[in-house]
C-alpha cells in the first residue's frame, strides 16, 4: 500500500464519522512522505518531538510561492500572518502581548472570573429549550455558547456575528487540505483575512473612542501591538474561539450518549467532568490535525526517515493521541484515565492559547446538559459531519429528550 493511502482515506469525507479506524494503518509509517512532497506524522513520540523541535517553523512564508502572495489593491491592506503562523521571536512577543489581558502573569484570574458568566449563558441556553423534546445540540447549544463567550471577551457586537461567521467558515476552509493546493488556500486566506481586518479595524476605532472591559479595547488602548498585528490577532482569536469549542461540546455529548454508563456517572459525580473533558480531547479531539503550516528549516532525522529541509509537515494529533505505544487501550473512552498527556491542544510554543477557556466552557456545558436533559437519546448515529477533516465535528446532533429539567430542580437533585 503506498504511503499516501491511509492519509488520503483520512482526508476522504466518506471516513469522517470514524477516522480512528484508519490510524493503525497510518501509524505503520510514523513519518510518511506524500505524493505532494509533504510529510505526515502520526505517532505520539514523533509528534511530540516535532512540536518541540526548533527546526520546525510555523511560518509559511518559508515557502517562496506563499511569501510571494501579494493581494491586488482592491483587497489591500494585506495583514501579517497571525501568531499561530509565526515563529519566535515574533510569535512569543505577540502571544505574550495578547496574554496580558487573558491570563497569567498579568491577568491570572481573567478566565476563572468568567465562570459565573459562562454558567449564566449555559443556563439561559438550556432554559430556552424548555418544552422541547427534540434538540439539535449544535445549533441550539454548542454553537451559540462559545460564540457568545468569545464575542463578549473580544468585544465583538453580537449583531455582527452572522457576518463574521461567514468569514470564519471561509478561513476554516483554507485550512482544509482537500480544498486546493497549499498556495491556493493561502491566497484565499490572505484575501479573507484582509476583509476581516477591515471589519476589525473599524471595530478597534470604535473601541478606542469608547473602550470597554474587553480584550480588543485593552489591546488597542495599550497600543503595544502594531495595528496590523492587532487585527490579525483579533481574527485568530475570533476564529479559534468560534470553530473549536462547538465541536468539543458536541463530540462530548455524542460520546456520552454512546457511553451511557459514563453519562450516568457524571450525573452523580460532577467532578468527573474534569478528567472526562481531558479524555474527550484525547478520544474525540476537535482538531484532528492543525492546518498544514509547518515546514522543516533543516533536514530532520525522525522516525526512520529524513524530512528534507523545506518540506511541509503535517502532524496528525488525533492519531498520536490514539497511539497504543503511549496510551494503554487507546480506543477505549476512559474518563478516569491517568497520565493523560493528550495532544488535543497541541504542544510546545503553539500550545492552544484558549485552552483554559475551552476547558471551562466544556466542563460547565457538559455538566449542565447531563444534569438537565432527561433521558437523552441519539436520533441518528453517526450524525452528519461537517466537511473539514482537520477541524472535525458534527454538523448537527439531534437528540430526543423526555423533557428539560428546570434549573433549580436539576441543581437540587445533583
Amino acid at each position: 500500500m503506498p504511503d499516501g493511502n491511509a492519509y488520503d482515506q483520512f482526508l476522504d469525507y466518506a471516513n469522517r464519522a470514524n477516522p480512528y479506524r484508519l490510524f493503525p494503518e497510518l501509524r505503520k509509517t510514523p513519518v510518511a512522505r506524500q505524493p505532494d512532497g509533504s510529510y505526515v506524522v502520526s505517532t505520539y513520540d514523533e509528534i511530540v518531538s516535532l512540536l518541540h523541535d526548533p527546526r520546525v517553523s510555523s511560518d509559511l512564508r518559508n515557502v517562496p510561492e506563499i511569501a510571494a502572495i501579494a493581494l491586488p489593491p482592491e483587497h489591500a491592506p494585506q495583514l501579517p500572518p497571525e501568531f499561530i503562523r509565526r515563529d519566535p521571536p515574533d510569535h512569543d512577543r505577540l502571544r505574550s502581548l495578547a496574554m496580558k489581558y487573558f491570563g497569567p502573569p498579568h491577568s491570572p484570574d481573567r478566565i476563572s472570573r468568567l465562570t459565573p458568566r459562562i454558567d449564566r449563558i449555559v443556563t439561559d441556553l438550556i432554559d430556552g429549550l424548555a418544552g422541547r423534546t427534540r434538540i439539535d445540540i449544535v445549533d441550539d447549544f454548542a454553537y451559540p455558547l462559545p460564540v457568545t463567550v468569545i464575542c463578549e471577551l473580544l468585544g465583538v457586537p453580537k449583531a455582527d456575528e452572522q457576518r463574521l461567521h461567514a468569514w470564519s467558515q471561509l478561513l476554516v476552509g483554507t485550512n482544509d487540505p482537500t480544498t486546493g493546493t497549499i498556495v491556493e488556500r493561502n491566497r484565499r486566506r490572505f484575501e479573507t483575512m484582509a476583509e476581516l481586518g477591515r471589519y476589525f479595524d473599524d471595530l478597534v476605532e470604535a473601541h478606542l473612542r469608547d473602550p470597554g472591559d474587553d480584550l480588543l479595547s485593552a489591546l488597542a488602548t495599550d497600543g503595544e501591538m502594531a495595528r496590523p498585528d492587532l487585527l490579525s490577532t483579533a481574527g485568530l482569536l475570533f476564529v479559534a474561539g468560534h470553530e473549536t469549542t462547538v465541536n468539543l461540546v458536541t463530540n462530548g455529548m455524542l460520546t456520552l450518549l454512546r457511553h451511557p454508563d459514563v453519562l450516568e456517572r457524571l450525573r452523580h459525580e460532577p467532578e468527573l467532568v474534569v478528567t472526562a473533558v481531558e479524555e474527550l480531547l484525547r478520544y474525540e479531539p476537535p482538531i484532528q490535525m492543525p492546518g498544514p503550516r509547518r515546514t522543516a528549516l533543516a533536514d530532520i532525522d525522525i522516525g526512520g526517515t529524513t524530512i528534507p529541509k523545506g518540506s511541509v509537515i503535517v502532524l496528525v494529533l488525533a492519531s498520536g493521541s490514539r497511539d497504543p505505544e503511549r496510551f494503554p487501550d487507546p480506543d477505549r473512552f476512559d474518563p478516569d484515565r491517568r497520565d493523560n498527556q493528550h495532544l488535543g491542544f497541541g504542544g510546545g510554543i503553539h500550545y492552544c492559547f484558549g485552552a483554559p477557556l475551552a476547558r471551562t466552557e466544556t466542563q460547565i456545558a457538559l455538566t449542565e446538559l447531563v444534569g438537565r436533559l432527561v433521558n437523552p437519546r441519539l436520533v441518528t448515529d453517526p450524525p452528519p459531519y461537517r466537511h473539514p477533516p482537520n477541524l472535525r465535528g458534527p454538523e448537527h446532533l439531534l437528540v430526543d429528550v423526555d423533557r428539560v429539567e428546570p434549573v433549580t430542580r436539576a441543581r437540587a437533585g445533583g
Binding site: 526548533p54 527546526r55 515563529d87 512569543d92 497569567p104 502573569p105 504542544g347 483554559p356
Partner: protein
C-alpha cells in the same frame, strides 16, 4: 491537601495558574511559584489544575492503597531500611511498594518532620507566600512503613547488616538505601557563625528563621556565595525590597555551575535588580557589635559591608559522618556507587545489598566519560531513587542503570533557569535561540565537538530537544537553521572552572524513555566537529 510540581517536567504552560490562580502563580513568563499544602477548600481547583497540565507535572496526594504492579521479581528481600527520610527516601519507598515489595519498610530520618520539599525554601517560603511548615510532599498512597523520625543513624555494621541509631538501637536490614543528602556548609569560624544574624539555609527550620528575620525588616543582607542558593536568596531579598550585597569568589555568580559566559549574564541580571554584587572577592571575616549581633563583614579586598543579616551559601557537605569506619567508600565526595546505585566498599567493589541515591550519591555517568558526578538536583534525587528502589528488589538480570541526564531548574529574578546535561563539561558555548538582551535564550555547551549541555532562560519548552541532542552525542556547534535563531551564532569559550579533563573518545549515545528501557551504547569514534 498536598501538591508538588515536578519542575523538571514543567515547561511553563501556565495551565495550572489558569485553573487554580489562588494556588499557582507565574512570576513573569515561566517561573512558577505555588503553594504546596493549600487549604482543602482548594482541592477542586488543584485537581482541575492537575488534569490540565499538558505535561502532567503535578503530583497530588493519592490516598488509599498503592496500586502495586504484579511482581515478577526473583529474590524479594524481607526488610528494607532507608536512611534519610526526604525526597529520595520517600520516592524510593513509594517505588518499592509500587513495584510489589510487601516486606517491612523502615524510614529513618533525623529531622522530626515528614518528608518535605526543599526548593521552595529559598523561594516561596522566604518571601512568605508559603509557610515553612507547609511544604510537605504529597503522599503517594499508603506506604505501610515504619517511620523513625527525629532519630539520626549513627553507624552502619555491614557485616551484621544493621543500622545503628543514636539511642543505641540497631535496625536490621536485607537491603539498605542511603539517602542522607547534604547539609549546608557552615561558616568556617564558629564564633563568627554564632553571631546573631548569621544564617544558613538547608532545612525548613533554617527557612523559618531566615524568613522571620527578613520579614521583620533589616538594613542590609549579605549573601556569601553566588551559587544557585545564594542567587535565589538575593532575588527574594530584592523582591522583598531589602538591600542586598552578594559576594562571590568567582568572576560572576553561577559560574561554578554554568560557566563564565552565562555567569556574566546572571551578574548583569542581578545588578539590574539592584543587587550590590561583588565578584572576585570573598568574605574574610564576620564582625559582631559586641553584643553578639552581626554588624558586617570584612571582604578579602579590604573593603567592608555593613549588614545585619548574613546568609552563608557556600555549598554543601555530604552527610556521611555516620558511615565513618563502616567500610563503605564514603567521604567528602559522597558515597560512591555504580550506575545501578549499588554502593562501593572502600576497595571500590560493589555491595549487593547497600544502595545510594540523591544528593549524597556519587555515581559514574556514561555520557560524561564515566566520570563520577554528585548532583544536588531535585530531578536527580527522584530519578536515582526510583532506579535504586527497583534494583533493590530486582533480579540481577533486570537491573536498571541510572542514565538520566542531569536536569536542574532555578527560579530567580522572575526567570526560570533550566539546564540539561553537565554545563561544566564544556569547552565552548553558543547561543542558539532567543535573545540575551531579552533574558530569553538557549545556551548550548559543547565539549570536543559534541553537545554536552544546554541552559535555558525562560525557554523551557525547547529543553527536551537539546536533551535528545545530548543523548545522541550530536555535533557541536549545531549548524542547522532554527526558529528564533539570533543574528550571530558564534561559539565562544565556555569559561568553566578548572575540572578533571575528560576522555576524548569515550562517547556514548543513550536510548529509551522509561528507566526500564534506557541503555547506553558506546560509539567507537567520537563524532568530529561539524566543520
Amino acid at each position: 491537601m498536598r501538591v508538588v510540581v515536578d519542575l523538571t517536567r514543567c515547561q511553563g504552560y501556565g495551565q495550572c495558574a489558569f485553573a487554580a490562580p489562588d494556588v499557582f502563580r507565574m512570576a513573569r513568563n515561566e517561573a512558577l511559584m505555588y503553594e504546596l499544602n493549600p487549604d482543602d477548600s482548594r482541592r477542586a481547583q488543584v485537581l482541575r489544575a492537575a488534569a490540565a497540565c499538558p505535561v502532567q507535572a503535578l503530583v497530588v496526594d493519592e490516598l488509599g492503597p498503592l496500586p502495586a504492579q504484579a511482581s515478577g521479581h526473583g529474590r524479594m528481600p524481607e526488610r528494607v531500611v532507608i536512611v534519610g527520610a526526604s525526597l529520595a527516601g520517600l520516592r524510593a519507598a513509594a517505588t518499592l511498594r509500587r513495584q510489589g515489595f510487601r516486606g517491612s519498610l523502615t524510614l529513618i530520618g533525623d529531622e522530626p518532620d515528614r518528608p518535605y520539599d526543599r526548593p521552595p525554601l529559598s523561594k516561596q517560603v522566604l518571601t512568605g507566600q508559603v509557610n515553612a511548615q507547609q511544604t510537605l510532599l504529597p503522599r503517594r498512597g499508603e506506604l505501610h512503613a515504619k517511620w523513625l523520625l527525629g532519630t539520626p543513624a549513627t553507624g552502619l555494621d555491614l557485616a551484621a547488616k544493621q543500622v545503628l541509631l543514636a539511642d543505641g538501637r540497631r535496625v536490621g536490614y536485607d537491603r539498605l538505601l542511603i539517602a542522607t543528602g547534604v547539609r549546608a556548609r557552615p561558616w568556617p569560624n564558629p564564633a563568627e557563625a554564632a553571631l546573631d544574624g548569621v544564617f544558613v539555609l538547608r532545612d525548613s527550620h533554617d527557612a523559618a528563621l531566615l524568613h522571620d528575620r527578613l520579614a521583620g525588616g533589616v538594613n542590609r543582607v549579605l549573601v556569601i556565595g553566588g551559587g544557585f542558593n545564594g542567587s535565589e536568596i538575593a532575588s527574594v531579598c530584592r523582591d522583598m525590597g531589602l538591600a542586598v550585597t552578594l559576594v562571590d569568589r568567582g568572576p560572576a555568580p553561577l559560574t561554578g555551575a554554568l560557566g563564565g559566559v552565562v555567569g556574566a549574564i546572571a551578574a548583569d541580571i542581578q545588578r539590574e535588580h539592584g543587587v550590590d554584587l561583588r565578584c572576585g572577592v570573598t568574605a574574610a571575616a564576620l564582625e559582631g557589635d559586641g553584643a553578639g549581633r552581626l554588624r558586617g563583614a570584612r571582604l578579602s579586598d579590604g573593603s567592608t559591608v555593613e549588614a545585619d543579616v548574613a546568609v552563608v551559601a557556600l555549598g554543601a557537605e555530604r552527610n556521611v559522618g555516620w558511615l565513618a569506619g563502616s567500610g563503605l567508600a564514603a567521604g567528602v565526595w559522597g558515597v560512591g556507587c555504580d550506575a545501578g546505585c549499588r554502593a562501593f566498599n572502600v576497595n571500590g567493589i560493589v555491595c549487593d545489598d547497600v544502595f545510594v541515591a540523591g544528593d549524597v550519591a556519587r555515581f559514574p555517568h556514561p555520557v560524561y566519560g564515566y566520570q563520577f558526578l554528585t548532583l544536588e538536583h531535585w530531578g536527580n534525587a527522584m530519578a536515582q531513587a526510583q532506579v535504586a528502589a527497583h534494583n533493590m528488589i530486582a533480579a540481577s538480570s533486570d537491573l536498571w542503570p541510572h542514565l538520566s541526564l542531569p536536569v536542574f531548574w532555578s527560579a530567580q529574578f522572575g526567570l526560570n533557569i533550566k539546564s540539561v546535561g553537565v554545563p561544566t563539561f564544556a569547552d565552548e558555548v553558543v547561543f542558539t535561540q532567543g535573545s540575551v538582551a531579552d533574558r530569553r535564550f538557549v545556551a548550548v555547551y559543547g565539549y570536543h565537538g559534541r553537545i554536552t549541555a544546554a541552559v535555558t532562560f525562560d525557554q523551557a519548552m525547547w529543553l527536551d530537544f537539546y536533551r535528545d541532542l545530548i543523548e545522541q552525542a550530536a555535533p557541536f556547534p549545531p549548524t542547522f537553521d532554527m526558529v528564533g535563531k539570533p543574528g550571530k551564532v558564534q561559539p565562544v569559550p565556555a569559561e568553566v572552572p578548572q575540572r578533571i579533563s575528560a576522555l576524548h573518545d569515550a562517547t556514548v549515545v543513550v536510548t529509551g524513555h522509561d528507566p526500564a528501557e534506557r541503555r547506553a551504547t558506546l560509539v567507537t569514534a567520537g563524532p568530529g566537529r561539524a566543520d
